[in-house]
């Protein structure tokens, strides 16, 4: 067997060990991993708590958004019905779509990931538990205040994709649209925080021996899911930023009269928006794969095909965004490329469907509630996929685009591809977090009501669309013949609602939250989440030798519980888990994990406060709240990245792992790189916007008059980079002086601030006015991003200096130092590209 890190894989053959473990280890683990009680429970960070809070909140938003749908269906039951006035209806459908996509679907998948992944990978927790807590609380507070806007008539009413110019200040003067933009703003932050957590978690905290080829499919799905968030969300982050700039500062990104273009928003939105559908579907498909295997009582057939299908879906989904724009009059050749890609993306879906069918054919399928839900999901999703193929053909889409046919299609895909799998998962994994399983008898009813309701609602809706009923209409005229199908749809919607109500009854009767004595492996799954667990997850971390360890090794549960595998105790006396290598999961080091803390909670509250206060235009409190976030985050980080007294620890069978590691193998390094990819994607999207708008109105662009300022700006950024390398060099070299490496970092920060200051000043002096042209507006959008990066690096430099002064910077290398180094180096790079691009690109093209 090959090795990836130099770790000898033979060492793992020492497990399971045979000698008795000393007494008191379990008590010690319980003490270390104990969750605070009473009000302090709010400061908990363990994934089994945060995961369930998160799942519960996402489900709450599902119920709320579903309730809105029922009211809307009542309004549409009859022509000229007067249940909802026009304005309220417009708010309802906007909120329904926005909440289902942003507050339910993506967070729900992240929540299930946070809940299940550490158990599936047999890690003690995800690598950044406090980040999970922060992501959850920001989402919880932000989501609830977003929903509350409905009660004040301030809810957004521009549709969930918020096309400008309808959402510009001219046509949406109220703060309703700002609620959407800022509300979505921190949900994006929360989603990205979660994605970083999941990416690093799946790549770095798998149980030893769990190579990429042995990972549970759900982990694969979540890995790709998180990767897609990293690539896709920046587009919508930039979109919301630009639209908010346009609304607040009158910078014309989307105003055709001043060189902007409404279609730019559509490109940015759908570059996020279409992958979003797969971001929701892939984790659900991962859950389905896991369950299919259990219910067929056999290994998944075509595991490598499914993995490839997941990867292919992720790639191709980035080539289909413009199929939402077939009717915008884009050139035929362009839209045909998107049509072809939309065809291609259905092949991986076909692979997964047939892999599930093949698995059923191989095994001995059993019928129970989760099986019903997953078969229902399969049928429904296939139907949605088929209408998806239909609308992928451009001429057909010209007819049905924005009609109720699309409403039917997207609900088939999302309910079949996410909601039914989610309910299957609820029934299947309930035993992990509840001391009682859900009722099979009620579950069957829940399924049939939901399944029948879903199809009664949405099957006739295809016809409604073919009859010419557009979407997003609050009423229709009696002479339109749309009444019969609409009435049927409404009856179906209430049937579906009844099914969900019955599920709530089941939940109330049987769900009893627990982290210790849960109902367990009710359906007989073969993956690691069904190992016996306590507060600390598994007693010891098993060596993984196949894809279904519990099926292949009947003793594994007992061996794990008796501590015969890795890390049966807490050698450093802190919370800890094993960090492994990304390909072959070879043990690399012991990560010391932070415990409960109020600071992520406070940081989340202040972050949410910042956005909400900004929305209601309480600017001073907003700024205060925003500034208060910073010390909270720094305080939460302060306790991390500290070497412990024990340099290396025995993790069992005489294998010793270091407790402090620096450089590219660390989880901190990975997280920083991923964060920088997010920042870079936002930048890249801005560059795209730049060339896109230039291509639309080249005549409106002019060569800037501040070419000479390029010299000091580039000089400053160059100096910063030089100082950074010098600082790193000094850190490795000098032994005594506390200040010299930190001084270089501080100087580098000053150079960054100076370079940015000169850049900004030269633009303010120039003739370009950001209110008058899209070119200038985009230039200032570039500068705003750079300004934010420079401000963050300044704070980072001060933080580093402070830690250095307290002698917390280890030598020859240090993780905090590495993180700051990477971030600052990137900032210098992006600043240089910004300076060159904004000055030279328009001049390089013929006007």
């Amino acid at each position: 067997m090959n090795s990836e890190t130099g770790f000898d894989p033979e060492l793992l053959n020492r497990f399971p060990t045979s000698e008795e473990r000393p007494k008191g280890e379990v008590e010690e683990l319980n003490r270390i991993w104990a969750a605070p009680s009473g009000w302090a429970r709010l400061t908990v960070v363990n994934n089994n708590y945060i995961g369930i809070f998160y799942t519960g909140t996402a489900f709450l938003f599902f119920l709320l958004a579903g309730a809105l749908a029922l009211v809307m269906r009542t309004q549409l039951a009859l022509p000229l019905n007067g249940i909802l006035p026009q304005e309220t209806y417009n708010q309802f459908f906007t909120m329904h779509g926005t909440m289902m996509m942003f507050l339910f679907a993506v967070p729900m998948m992240e929540a299930i990931g946070i809940l299940l992944l550490p158990q599936m990978l047999a890690a003690r927790d995800l690598p950044f538990p406090r980040l999970s807590a922060y992501a959850f609380w920001a989402y919880f507070v932000g989501g609830l205040s977003f929903f509350a806007s409905l009660f004040f008539g301030l809810a957004p009413n521009g549709g969930w994709f918020m096309y400008p110019p309808l959402t510009s200040i001219t046509y949406s003067p109220g703060i309703n649209a700002d609620f959407w933009l800022l509300g979505i703003g921190f949900i994006e932050i929360s989603a990205i925080a979660g994605a970083i957590e999941i990416l690093v978690g799946v790549l770095k905290t798998r149980a030893p021996g769990m190579t990429l080829a042995r990972m549970p499919i759900f982990a694969w799905a979540m890995l790709v899911f998180a990767g897609m968030i990293i690539i896709a969300f920046p587009a919508v982050i930039l979109g919301t930023l630009l639209l908010e700039f346009e609304r607040a500062l009158n910078w014309p990104f989307f105003d055709a009269a001043r060189g902007g273009d409404p279609l730019l928003w559509q490109h940015l939105f759908w570059f996020f928006g279409h992958p979003e559908v797969y971001i929701i579907f892939l984790p659900a498909a991962g859950l389905l794969s896991m369950m299919v295997s259990t219910f067929a009582r056999t290994e998944l057939v075509g595991y490598h095909l499914i993995v490839l299908a997941i990867l292919a879906t992720a790639f191709i989904s980035f080539g289909v965004w413009a199929h939402h724009m077939f009717t915008t009059g884009m050139p035929d050749l362009s839209i045909s490329f998107f049509s072809a890609a939309s065809m291609a993306v259905s092949v991986p879906a076909g692979i997964q469907v047939f892999a599930w069918i093949a698995t059923f054919a191989t095994g001995r399928p059993r019928y129970n509630t989760p099986t019903l839900f997953l078969l229902g999901a399969l049928i429904t999703f296939v139907m949605g996929g088929l209408t998806g193929v239909m609308v992928a053909l451009v001429p057909f889409d010209w007819q049905v685009h924005d009609s109720h046919f699309i409403v039917a299609h997207l609900h088939y895909v999302l309910i079949g591809g996410a909601v039914f799998p989610m309910f299957a998962a609820f029934y299947y994994w309930m035993g992990m977090t509840s001391s009682r399983a859900l009722s099979e008898r009620l579950g069957t009813w829940v399924f049939w009501l939901m399944f029948a309701g879903m199809h009664i609602t949405f099957l006739p809706m295809h016809l409604t669309g073919l009859m010419g009923m557009p979407r997003r209409v609050y009423t229709y005229l009696p002479e339109s013949d749309w009444m019969a199908t609409n009435l049927i749809s409404t009856i179906g919607a209430f049937t579906l609602g009844a099914g969900i109500l019955l599920f709530l009854v089941d939940l109330a009767r049987n769900f009893r939250f627990t982290v210790e004595d849960d109902a367990g492996n009710v359906y007989g799954g073969g993956t690691l989440e069904w190992l016996p667990t306590g507060l600390y997850s598994t007693r010891s971390i098993p060596v993984v030798r196949s894809r279904s360890p519990l099926w292949d090794d009947p003793n594994i549960c007992e061996d794990v519980e008796k501590g015969r595998y890795l890390l049966p105790n807490a050698p450093t006396g802190h919370r800890e888990t094993i960090i492994t290598s990304p390909l072959r999961a070879e043990p690399q080091y012991l990560q010391i994990m932070p415990g409960p803390s109020p600071w992520p909670l406070l940081a989340a509250l202040f972050t949410a406060g910042f956005f909400v206060l900004l929305t209601i235009q309480a600017y001073t409190p907003a700024v205060i709240s925003g500034v208060l976030t910073i010390p909270c985050v720094l305080r939460w980080l302060w306790e991390t990245d500290r070497p412990v007294a024990v340099r290396t620890a025995d993790v069992g069978a005489g294998i010793r792992l270091p407790t402090y590691v620096t450089g590219p193998s660390t989880h901190g390094w990975w997280a920083t790189i991923i964060l920088l990819i997010v920042v870079f994607m936002i930048f890249l999207m801005t560059v795209f916007s730049w060339f896109f708008l230039y291509g639309i109105h080249p005549r409106l662009w002019s060569a800037p008059d501040n070419l000479l300022s390029l010299v000091p700006v580039l000089g400053g950024y160059g100096a910063a980079a030089g100082l950074l390398f010098l600082g790193r060099h000094l850190l490795a070299r000098t032994k005594s002086t506390h200040w010299s490496p930190a001084t270089q970092i501080l100087l580098a920060a000053i150079a960054l601030v100076a370079a940015f200051g000169i850049d900004l000043w030269s633009w303010r002096e120039s003739a370009l006015d950001p209110e008058l042209s899209a070119q200038a507006a985009l230039t200032f959008a570039f500068l705003s991003q750079q300004g934010l990066l420079v401000a963050i690096t300044a704070i980072m430099a001060l933080y580093l200096a402070l830690r250095n002064a307290r002698a917390m910077i280890t030598r020859p290398r240090n993780t905090t130092f590495d993180v700051v180094f990477l971030f600052m180096l990137y900032t210098a790079g992006q600043g240089s590209v910004t300076a060159v691009l904004t000055r030279l690109a328009p001049a390089g093209f013929p006007a």
Partner: protein, 96 residues
């Protein structure tokens, strides 16, 4: 003579757009505010303040108001005799 049919009356009301001036019970949209609302038609003593509220008169009134009440702002509506009886039937039924 066929019996007046309230449901046909409703369709006629929707077709000619009575609700663009009157809020009519049973008609969700529009809820016009140019003329008086037509709630409680069955209990009213008078039509337009001066005609006896009887089905035949109401039917004639909705069809050609200026002929019965010279100077009224309500115009003649494009309804057949049969339709006007249906409309009257609907107004009595829905406005109970």
């Amino acid at each position: 003579m066929p019996v007046a049919d309230a449901s046909r009356g409703k369709r006629a009301i929707e077709r000619v757009g009575c609700a663009s001036c009157h809020t009519i019970p049973g008609i969700g949209w529009p809820k016009g505010e140019a003329g008086p609302p037509l709630h409680g038609m069955a209990e009213r003593a008078l039509i337009a303040g001066r005609l006896a509220n009887r089905p035949g008169i109401l039917a004639r009134f909705v069809r050609d108001a200026p002929a019965l009440v010279p100077g009224t702002t309500m115009p003649a509506m494009p309804l057949s005799e049969e339709e006007s009886r249906d409309v009257a039937a609907f107004l009595y039924e829905s406005g109970k």
